[in-house]
């Protein structure tokens, strides 16, 4: 579960990126976080993943209180999260299997667990036939699937997808969104950050819209009703 109470963030140069965000995301929810460029979406993602700290306000994620978390505890919080980026962030010299297995190795999983879990996740994202391919031998949609598999492989409680379809054509974008929806149905909470209005409106999900560092709407009607 994610709970943000009056979260503010001011950068050192004086920019006020967040001006009192209040939102709660329950376990098992699928939520779109939408807003125009500079609205504060990326700042929220950075705060949720522990890259930066809020200036004010209270945040708890998956049982961790970000206001009082010790640096040594941060890796354990991150193990409850799976993050998907717009630019995939795959390791070029590793093949599909190793890119996914790498995330498990990084948290100290045993070889036995890796051999059992990675093929399952690759099958889930539809890449079980391309395990030996390098990222540059895959299409954009396939690369994003690898990134989703990597985010999923450590069985996180929350997947945060930051503009996951930003580099994809509409058909591939829809496929990725459907994959995320499928993952959500398997029990993982999903938070998708996007500004693609048409895509959001195809799914009947909760939409949190922000602008100028504030929440301007939070509806369960699945409608992206903000004009960016």
């Amino acid at each position: 579960m994610v709970r943000m109470t009056n979260v503010c963030k001011a950068y050192e140069n004086g920019t006020k990126a967040l001006r009192g965000i209040n939102a709660t995301i329950e376990d098992g929810e699928f939520v779109f976080l939408v807003g125009p460029s500079g609205s504060g979406k990326s700042t929220i993602i950075k705060i949720l993943t522990g890259e930066i700290a809020p200036t004010l306000g209270e945040i708890s994620i998956n049982g961790y209180d970000l206001n009082s978390i010790k640096p040594s505890q941060m890796p354990y919080l991150r193990r409850t999260l799976g993050v998907v980026f717009q630019d995939f962030r795959l390791i070029d010299k590793k093949n599909v299997y190793d890119n996914v297995a790498f995330a498990m190795r990084a948290v100290g999983a045993s070889s036995k667990d890796i051999k059992r879990r990675v093929p399952y996740v690759l099958e889930l994202v539809g890449l079980d036939t391309k395990t030996r391919r390098k990222p540059n031998e895959l299409s954009g949609g396939e690369q994003q699937r690898v990134a989703i598999a990597r985010a999923l492989v450590n069985n996180p409680r929350l997947i945060i997808a930051d503009e996951p379809t930003g580099n994809l054509d509409p058909a591939r974008s829809l496929e990725i969104m459907m994959l995320l929806e499928r993952i959500n149905k398997l029990g993982t909470t999903v938070l998708v950050v996007t500004h693609e209005k048409e895509l959001v409106n195809r799914f009947s999900k909760r939409v949190i819209a922000i602008d100028g560092g504030r929440v301007i709407s939070d509806g369960m009607d699945g409608y992206y009703n903000y004009e960016s």
């Binding site: 890796p75 919080l77 991150r78 962030r89 990084a106 948290v107 100290g108």
Partner: protein
């Protein structure tokens, strides 16, 4: 660290060495060069120390006994001289012994055959523990009642002491400077490797890898480079030393210099090289990786 993880870290460290082949080669080269220069100064310093020690042990003072003392009184001074802390040994030489030594120098030349031993004094050959304290010791021997005067080559002893101090100081300065240079270059190599893998590190951080887990492959890389450099440098140093020893022994001009056998120096030198390789390798990688872990 379990065996599974150890294997992973070692594998990652080794593959990084090959992935950054040129930089790895360059850093091993620099470590080897620095260690050889460092080792050469260490060996020079050890040889000079051994030589000075030898010369020190041969360096002596002569304490002449007052001629008014009887033979027994003169011999009784031995214990008083040996009571002085810096005196290693005091050997009594009677007038007669002194004369025969004197005459033997001149092959029993007829010119000196009528010399009476009475013209000479009883004396003590005094060996010192530390020739840098020769002046003080000389005064202490001179102060003993019954000693007429003391003769010593103060300037030679001071020369030995100065040379010894200069060699030790220069060696230490060069060793420290080279150690810092090696560490700096090693840091730069690891910095390049780390820069190349910053995305990988960011991903590791994002999926929840601990700093220790991220750090270990770099530590292994630094360690392997450092130890490999140390081993190559040791073998090269061995070869150079052996070559130099042969040349010195063959030379008619400098064969008075006694070179210590490498066998006597090999273990301490290997120890110094491995320790330096270890410190430079691990120190270099740890200082760099710290910066990238602050995410």
């Amino acid at each position: 660290m379990n065996r599974n993880r150890f294997g992973y870290f070692a594998k990652e460290g080794i593959s990084s060495i090959f992935n950054h082949g040129f930089m790895s080669f360059a850093s091993i080269g620099v470590i080897v060069a620095c260690l050889i220069i460092m080792g050469s100064f260490t060996l020079l310093s050890l040889n000079v120390s051994a030589m000075i020690e030898k010369w020190e042990s041969e360096n002596q003072m002569l304490a002449f006994v007052d001629e008014t003392l009887s033979d027994d009184q003169a011999k009784a001074l031995e214990s008083k001289i040996e009571e002085i802390p810096n005196v290693a040994d005091a050997i009594f030489v009677s007038r007669d012994q002194a004369l025969s030594q004197y005459l033997s120098k001149y092959n029993d030349n007829d010119l000196f055959k009528d010399i009476d031993s009475k013209v000479l004094r009883h004396r003590y050959i005094v060996y010192l523990k530390d020739i840098s304290m020769m002046k003080d010791t000389m005064q202490q021997v001179d102060d003993i009642v019954g000693i007429a005067n003391v003769s010593a080559h103060i300037e030679i002893s001071e020369g030995f002491t100065t040379v010894s101090r200069i060699v030790a100081t220069v060696s230490i300065i060069i060793i420290v400077v080279l150690l810092i240079v090696s560490m700096f270059i090693m840091s730069n190599t690891i910095k390049l490797a780390t820069f190349d893998r910053r995305e990988e590190i960011a991903i590791m951080k994002m999926v929840g890898a601990t700093n220790g887990f991220i750090r270990w492959p770099f530590v292994f890389e630094g360690l392997i480079l450092g130890l490999l450099g140390a081993l190559i440098a040791f073998l090269a140093q061995w070869g150079l030393y052996a070559l130099l020893t042969v040349e010195i022994t063959k030379s008619s001009k400098i064969n008075v210099i006694e070179v210590l056998p490498f066998g006597r120096l090999a273990l301490p030198l290997l120890g110094i090289f491995i320790f330096t390789g270890f410190v430079v390798g691990i120190g270099g990688s740890l200082t760099v990786i710290r910066k990238y872990l602050k995410v």
